[in-house]
Amino acid sequence: MAESPGDVTRLLQAWGNGDQEALNKLLPHIYDELRRLAGSQLRREGSPHTLQPTALVHEAYLRLAGQDRTRWQNRAHFLGVAAQAMRRILIDHARAGHAAKRGGDVVKVALDDVEAGQSSGETDLDLVALDAALTRLAAIDPQKSRIVELRFFGGLSVDEVAEVLNLSPRTVARQWQMARAWLYGEIAPGP
């Protein structure tokens, strides 16, 4: 853990109050913490491991914000930042896999339901491509991109996303629907 829980809490608060600088200070700590949590799983080779962002994010939260019951706060903000960090971890890892240039482990996403007709039943999608598509989406519609980031990389439920972005769950569900369709068009094979 990079900073004491109190500082993380303060930074979360400051960020919640619109201080963007606080986010910059916060991100490395959360990134570090998540990275450490994810590290043992990511480093292992040879056998598949499921990364469960939700579990990681919650565990990181407990560690960062402290377990003292009266101390935690701004969970919504935390989850928002954590999802972003999660995205970075997974993308960095995917890049590291590419950079290794020896067919080392690569982070992929299961797309088995996407192309039902495909013989293998499962296609692997490089997260780097998704990341790039998500970045393009952000240029057009930042909110949708954020929703995908929170749901997919952060593992948050629709309700949690709604809490983080201060939207109604209905709005989140609607936006998610379109964002997903658009991203599918950007990434999936075929016309």
Binding site: A2, E3, S4, G6, N24, L27, P28, D32, Q41, H49, L51, A55, L62, D68, R69, T70, N74, R75, L90, I91, H98, A99, A100, K101, G103, D105, V106, V107, K108, A110, V114, T123, D126, V128, A129, D131, A132, A133, T135, R136, A139, I140, D141, R151, F152, F153, G155, E163, Q177, M178, R180, A181, W182, L183, Y184, G185, E186, I187, A188, P189
Partner: protein, 973 residues
């Protein structure tokens, strides 16, 4: 890319259409898009994708080993080529070694292939662009494009000249090339890059690994995968934020990490890194951390050492590099692209000049560069210098002189403070955590903290006029204090030191708030400082000091909220202050009613704040906490009333307590529902439910209480099972078994109750085995033995009860034997002896009881007779004198004396001794005084519990105390 309006239109139509069936969709689109066929096409495309995207992105990302995937294509045919093995992977595809085996001789090539699943429009576009670039370039040091096409399964590919070589740096090391040979190779690389630049292509990923040298000694530049066409306007690729741009950190230029414009100077920088590596074997910058922000920081801020000063060089190599080559390399690595060579050709020429002994261009102007850089670095100091000159020119009047002093002080102090803050931050951020995991590092950390404090103290002497610097100082002192010993987080355990640091912060902030320009933030910080002193003192078991400081914090926050009634953070702080002050009041024998009203105020504040943010977990947690405290206080009132004035008078109190506990339970459940994986919330729900169940039982529904509690026990069981090594979880489970036993006993289910009591005891004894003198756990175990013994005694199982009580006495003896004796020994021992002697006496063994009872009495009285006796000690002695057995040892008059002293000590504000005094008067036969004292005691409770007249009180006292066996009120733990 569609523009915003178009996107919104698309979105609106999609949202509407997606809800409809196919026929209605068509009708909708016919109606709306009649004049805009491209909008219609866009929506239809989205709808089609939507139809196929079920399940897409619904699952979390998986990390799987990629071996299987990478091997899948070996042996496959692409056009006339057969893939042999994978050579590597890039951002969009993989490179394979391939053979054309339909010819007489085997011709080896490299094939780059888009990976299945990645052939999106954008990737394919980039892939084509790379192919196009390679087709454009024709240079002996760049891999040649041989062929290209589309595979049978529709994936684009291209064929390259295969370079069977090693990365250029390895080649240099392996061949032990001398500097001149290395520079010659580097010159060829420059030629390749220059060629690309002349074709308006920036490579962007020049590094040793992308330059292979074959057996023929010719270096070849490869992988144009992230290369980019330079457009005439040098437009920045703004859609990709800097951290997500592909790059190799070790070779990345400042503009690549900061999101600046990418130009040919970017490649010049990377070539500089390569040159550094080739001449020294090292990289110019060292990355201690691989966090993106840290890498960016190093690249943007850190100046490389000149190559001649790189580590691990022999003296001959140093001499060779010193001077001209240093200048050449450093010029390529300048942070500002404009300070580098204007082109790769210029760099290449300078290297050539060096090799032929001509003066190099890089040295020209390097002095000026250094001066400019110096000034840039010391902007603050330089500005202060200018300030001095100006004031001198204007004539030194008294005021400008003061201003000058302040300014000089500020300049100096600012730098020092920056240093100190760096030190403290690294203490808190880096060293502390890194060291915390190392055994025996506490001394080192303490030393670091002391060093930071020395700096701060010195600085505090210098900073005497500048308010904002003093403010910074105060905040830094607080930080150091947190590090030293803020309870409930990782600290050095130096609570006394923490207190001193906080006090220094307080001193500065008090001065500032009393000064001419007080700032609200000073007052806020002052409140925080007092609050922290309070929690440190609580931890140090100095309740009265804690109370004084917490009260100060409370008063400050009250003052702050008044003019800022809408400041939510201030109100939250006020609520938190109220609760901790209430806690301190109760533990320092303070005013019970005041504590109650503080808790209630916290509750009201939190409730009001929740109106706008109903799901704010911090507030919900706080509200649950307030209700919990209120519930506990009302329960205490109820217990006192039941013991003194009979159970009927306690009903109302218990009902109120129950209402608060129920409310806490509802809130806790809501928190857990919102965040089902949160262990803290699971604890909270279990605790709140347990409290509620107890009050349900006290309110007369023991059956309901048992049902309510059952899942709590299960919950603690699973928490303990999840982490068998966790002592705390085992301890919680033990308490939970006991609490459940109490409820079962109340429900009349003695056999089950006994089973749970015994389970609780077994677990407690097990956890105590590793820590036999733990005071808190011994108290819990003693309490459980007492409950079990009492129940056995009531069931008539005297022998078993006696054995159980003797175990308590034995626990007390064990605690007493420790060196030093555990402070809990008296309570444990007293509980055991009191019960044992009562039991023996009631069963005709008064003689046996007399000795230990007498000894215990002597002990308690000796403590209470000291002039410095605490409220607790006086209370214990009085209670023993009223309830002990043999009855002959009782002395209600002496009890009155002790109780009166206890009441006086609390200023008549605490309910507990006040009620004991009522009883003491009554049993000493002074009913009038007892009635009077009862009025006084009742006045300490909320007014709603009054309403008894003298006659009523008399009746209740007679009914409750007159028949008292001395059994109901056990010695309170």
């Amino acid at each position: 890319m569609p523009d915003q309006d178009r996107w919104r239109a698309l979105e609106q139509l999609f949202d509407e259409a997606v809800e409809l069936d196919v026929a209605s969709r068509a009708a909708l689109l016919d109606r709306v898009c009649a004049a805009d066929p491209s909008l219609r096409a866009g929506v239809e495309r989205l709808l089609a994708w939507h139809g196929r995207a079920a399940g897409f992105l619904e699952r979390p990302p998986l990390a799987v080993a990629g071996e299987a995937a990478s091997g899948e294509r070996a042996g496959a045919r692409i056009g006339p080529y057969r893939l042999v093995r994978e050579l590597g992977r890039g951002g969009m595809g993989a490179v394979y070694l391939a053979e054309r085996d339909d010819e007489q001789y085997r011709h080896q090539v490299a094939i780059k292939l888009v990976k299945g699943g990645l052939d999106t429009e954008a990737i394919v576009r980039r892939f084509r662009s790379e192919r196009q670039m390679l087709a454009t370039l024709n240079h002996p040091n760049i891999t040649k494009l041989l062929d290209g096409g589309t595979s049978d399964d529709g994936l684009p590919y291209f064929v390259l000249e295969y370079v069977d070589g090693v990365p250029i740096d390895q080649y240099c090391e392996a061949g032990a090339l001398d500097v001149a040979q290395r520079l010659a190779l580097f010159g060829q690389v420059c030629a390749a890059v220059d060629h690309a630049h002349r074709h308006l292509i920036v490579h962007r990923d020049i590094k040793a690994g992308n330059i292979l040298v074959g057996a023929d000694g010719v270096p070849k530049l490869l992988d144009f995968g992230i290369a980019k066409w330079l457009d005439p306007e040098m437009r920045v690729d703004a859609t990709i934020p800097a951290p997500f741009r592909p790059m190799t950190p070790e070779y990345a230029s400042p503009e690549q990490v900061s999101g600046g414009a990418i130009t040919t100077a970017t490649d010049v920088y990377s070539l500089g890194v390569l040159l550094y590596r080739l001449t020294t074997g090292r990289l110019p910058l060292e990355f201690a951390s691989h966090q993106p922000h840290a890498i960016a920081n190093v690249i943007l801020e850190q100046d490389p050492r000149p190559p001649s000063e790189a580590e691990g060089l022999n003296e001959a190599r140093r001499r060779r590099l010193r001077g001209d080559l240093d200048s050449i390399v450093l010029k390529t690595l300048r942070k500002d692209p404009a300070d580098r060579y204007g082109s790769v050709e210029q760099l290449s020429q300078d290297v050539h000049r060096y090799l032929t002994g001509l003066p190099v261009l890089a040295r020209k102007g390097s002095l000026q560069y250094r001066v400019v850089k110096f000034v840039r670095r010391h902007k603050t100091a330089a500005a202060a210098g200018v300030g001095v000159l100006l004031t001198l020119a204007a004539g030194v009047s008294a005021t400008t002189w003061e201003a000058h002093v302040a300014q000089v002080e500020r300049g100096r102090a600012e730098r020092r403070l920056r240093d100190v803050r760096q030190i403290t931050n690294s203490l808190i951020v880096e060293f502390n955590d890194a060291l915390a995991t190392l055994p025996g590092s506490t001394a080192t950390r303490a030393l670091l903290a002391r060093r930071a404090l020395e700096y701060l103290d010195e600085l505090a002497k210098e900073v005497t006029t500048d308010a904002s610097l003093q403010r910074e100082l105060a905040v830094t002192y607080q930080k150091v204090g947190d590090l030293q010993g803020l309870p409930y987080q990782a600290n050095l355990g130096d609570t006394a030191g923490a207190r001193a640091s906080y006090q220094k912060s307080v001193a500065i902030l008090e001065r500032l708030s009393a000064g001419p320009s007080p700032d609200t933030s000073d007052t806020v910080a002052l409140g925080t400082a007092y609050q922290r002193i309070g929690s440190v003192l609580t931890r140090m078991n100095e309740p009265s000091g804690a109370l004084a400081n917490l009260r100060k914090a409370l008063q400050i926050r009250e003052r702050l909220v008044k003019p800022h009634p809408d400041d939510r953070e201030l109100r939250q702080q006020l609520a938190e202050s109220s609760v901790s002050t209430g806690d301190a009041l109760l533990s320092s024998q303070g005013d019970t009613l005041e504590a109650m009203s503080l808790y209630d105020r916290a509750r009201a504040i939190r409730q009001a704040l929740l109106a706008t943010t109903p799901d704010d977990p911090r507030l919900l947690n706080g509200l649950a906490e307030s209700h919990h405290r209120l519930g506990a206080i009302f329960e205490t009132f109820g217990d006192l009333l039941a013991d003194t004035l009979g159970p009927a008078n306690a009903t109302k109190s218990f009902r109120q307590s129950l209402a608060h506990h129920r409310e806490a339970m509802v809130i806790a459940t809501r928190l857990l529902t919102n965040d089902a994986n949160n262990m803290g919330f699971r604890r909270l729900v279990a605790d709140a439910t347990g409290e509620t169940a107890r009050l349900v039982a006290k309110s007369g529904s023991p059956g309901e209480a048992v049902d309510l509690y059952r899942p709590v026990l299960t919950s603690f069981e699973s928490l303990a099972a999840a982490d068998p090594a966790n002592q705390e979880a085992g301890f919680d489970l033990s308490v939970s078994h006991r609490d459940f036993g109490v409820l079962l006993e109340r429900h009349g289910d003695r056999a089950d109750a006994e089973r749970h009591y015994r389970q609780s005891i077994a677990i407690s004894e097990r956890t105590l085995a590793t820590d036999p003198t733990n005071g808190e756990r011994n108290l819990i175990l003693a309490g459980t033995y007492a409950m079990l013994g009492d129940m056995l005694a009531k069931s008539g199982n005297t022998a078993a009860a006696e054995a159980t009580y003797r175990k308590i006495v034995a626990l007390g003896d064990r605690l007493r034997a420790g060196s030093p004796p555990s402070p809990s020994w008296r309570i444990v021992y007293g509980t055991g002896v009191w019960r044992l002697t009562n039991l023996l006496d009631r069963h005709g063994r008064a003689a046996e009881a007399a000795v230990p009872a007498d000894a215990e009495m002597a002990l308690e009285r000796a403590s209470a007779d000291r002039t410095t006796a605490s409220v607790q000690e006086l209370f214990n002695a009085a209670q023993l004198l009223l309830t002990c057995r043999p009855v002959g040892l009782r002395d209600p008059r002496a009890a009155v004396a002790y109780a009166e002293r206890a009441v006086a000590l609390t200023g008549g504000k605490q309910a507990l001794p006040a009620f004991l005094l009522v009883r003491a008067y009554y049993e000493s036969g002074d009913v009038d005084k007892a009635v009077k004292a009862a009025h006084a005691a009742l006045a300490l409770l909320p007014t709603s519990f009054g309403g008894l007249d003298d006659a009523g009180i008399r009746r209740q006292l007679a009914a409750t105390l007159g028949s008292q066996e001395g059994h109901a009120s056990a010695v309170r733990r």
